[in-house]
Subunit: 405 residues, 2 copies
Amino acid sequence: MSKGSWYELARMDTGKKNAFLGKLSKRLVESSDYILKENLKDLKSGKEKGLSNALLDRLKLDEDRIRGMAKGLNDIVALPDPVGKIDGMKRMPNGLLVGKMRTPIGSILIIYEARPNVTVDAFALCFKSGNSTILKGGSEAINSNRSLIKVIRDTLEECDIDPDVVQFIDTADRSVLNDLLRMDRYIDLVIPRGGEGLIRFVAENSTMPVIKHYKGVCHVYVDANSDLENALEIAINAKVQRPGVCNAMETLLVNRSIADRFLKMLKEGMDKHDVRLKGCEKTVKVLSGIERAVEDDWYTEYLDLILSVKVVEDIGEAIAHINKYGSHHSDAIVTNDYNNAMRFIQEVDSAAVYANASTRFTDGGEFGLGAEIGISTDKIHARGPMGLEELTSIKWIVFGSGQTR
Amino acid sequence: MSKGSWYELARMDTGKKNAFLGKLSKRLVESSDYILKENLKDLKSGKEKGLSNALLDRLKLDEDRIRGMAKGLNDIVALPDPVGKIDGMKRMPNGLLVGKMRTPIGSILIIYEARPNVTVDAFALCFKSGNSTILKGGSEAINSNRSLIKVIRDTLEECDIDPDVVQFIDTADRSVLNDLLRMDRYIDLVIPRGGEGLIRFVAENSTMPVIKHYKGVCHVYVDANSDLENALEIAINAKVQRPGVCNAMETLLVNRSIADRFLKMLKEGMDKHDVRLKGCEKTVKVLSGIERAVEDDWYTEYLDLILSVKVVEDIGEAIAHINKYGSHHSDAIVTNDYNNAMRFIQEVDSAAVYANASTRFTDGGEFGLGAEIGISTDKIHARGPMGLEELTSIKWIVFGSGQTR
């Protein structure tokens, strides 16, 4: 990629970027036949290779899913452009005006698995925030991705934008990743989206900064003084509304003083949703017949209708458990005690910490970011949902009148 | 390091942190004899090993330098504590209150060369922002560093703070670095302070995020419509006030239309400060007798009284030159043309971009950050001067009233 095409994009005005994204939304729908034909090739070879049904479902596109991508683009049009926003401009004693202006980062490598929708979605977020995008999708989706990239590049040309602002690594050869991950002269940031193995591989081998999206071992702690009906509602929502995602609850902690009563309510409630409970020693004494949790379970992201349950002495033990066994993703307390709510918010070391709400809200849309490219479990650059602003950097801008030091 | 000692520090109130830093400032001065005795050992073995005078000077401590460190600590006491600051708190349509709270990052590894003052300075900035510090200093300073760490740890104990919030890698063996750089389970961030070789080694071998402080190939561009007297003043300041630092100017660009007049003024001005000029083809036609710059010179950080000089057609060529040959550190335009000033600020891709001021202002103190741990040339997490806030992360905090999704 030439730096020239990035500089053009970096300073492109919002109107031109939005006009392109709007046109792309249309062109995607108009190109449905072509895209679906290419997608069929991937589905066919995926079936031949014996991919699981879950994987084939992620791979599959249809008219509805293409309309979903097109709608996603229009949503991104509606978001404010982060580029050029100036923060904290102040006048220094020597008369210099000093502030920070948001700028694009440069060129962002997105490495993902067999979800063709990521191709459009990730590109559009990077584009709106003024970044060049290099896309390396899963080999199972190569025909689908190639067709989507063709539509994107054709539309860029139609809008008089250098199509090289998006690059597609058009090979199913995984070894190319090793070379890509050492191209720090050309790539500013890597965002791997996929399983833990992929992310770990990228983090260990990249010479560029990597923003990681690891697993979510999320907790709900039900405090002594709490509304047990509401606690149950939050627990059920956090566990069953969408168990396969990173912000779903994996472990419930309950204060000893209300454990007898709440655990029975919990069992009854979770039974209705076929959630299998695994309890600590104290839990199994109250709920005889449920499985005993082992040490490893406290670290486990089930992504399934399974829940670890532990009775704790007090809020201190709850916080210590979460900071030790959790993955620092999303954790909630249910309490009517003001001081305990504030203490939990302060002391739990997670990307999102809740008082009296479900962990399921950890999401760019729910936090007011509009869209998200992922949920960072890192502490560097971005933490929690990453929206457009998290895809930018800053530069210091200084207006002087001849000052020297 | 136990996570426990970090959690204690992460939630320590500002008063206790400041009381400790103030006491440390006193204890350092009181321990001068001990510290200077240990420093003498390093100086002696440094001389035996044949270290250069410049290196020995950096290594050397005296009463004045110890008082300087002590004063630095009091300056850090006076800075606002970034931890716990809440940004952008808003009420979402479902009633959730969502905001971002600044939190410490965790544990920060500082790798540095033979400057013992970094031991105190870097530790104090990390401590005030709630982070544990792991210090790996240059082997030449090991006795000095060991004595400073002893004073720090003794004062921590005196103030009832777990001394393990600071760890000193007490070995002169450089191979230990390879192990340290793979300890991503225990270390959250690495900041190497030193030469380009060290930084590159750390960036390539660390499995943790690294914030890099590379060289500064900084420019001043003198535009067609500009006050030439002021342009000369800025150029001289940027070059000679402290030529050995990263924000000093290395290349001057001058608009063709004023080149004849300005280059003669420049030669006369720079001659007074013994600055050697290297010019492009057009420059040497005006200033006969000066050296001809070669391609490599445009990329070079001299850190010395040498200056590359180039005549450019217009502001477009100046910006293109800076973005191609510069190191994206600090660059300035001198102009009376409003539109050119605004264009330069927008289009130059550097950590600090100036209109009508010297590049020498790129500094935490000058930008109002109080102190700095360095000047990041990265675009991820921090760019430009890094103060206390740049040593923190955030967490999303959510106050609900029973919301589920």
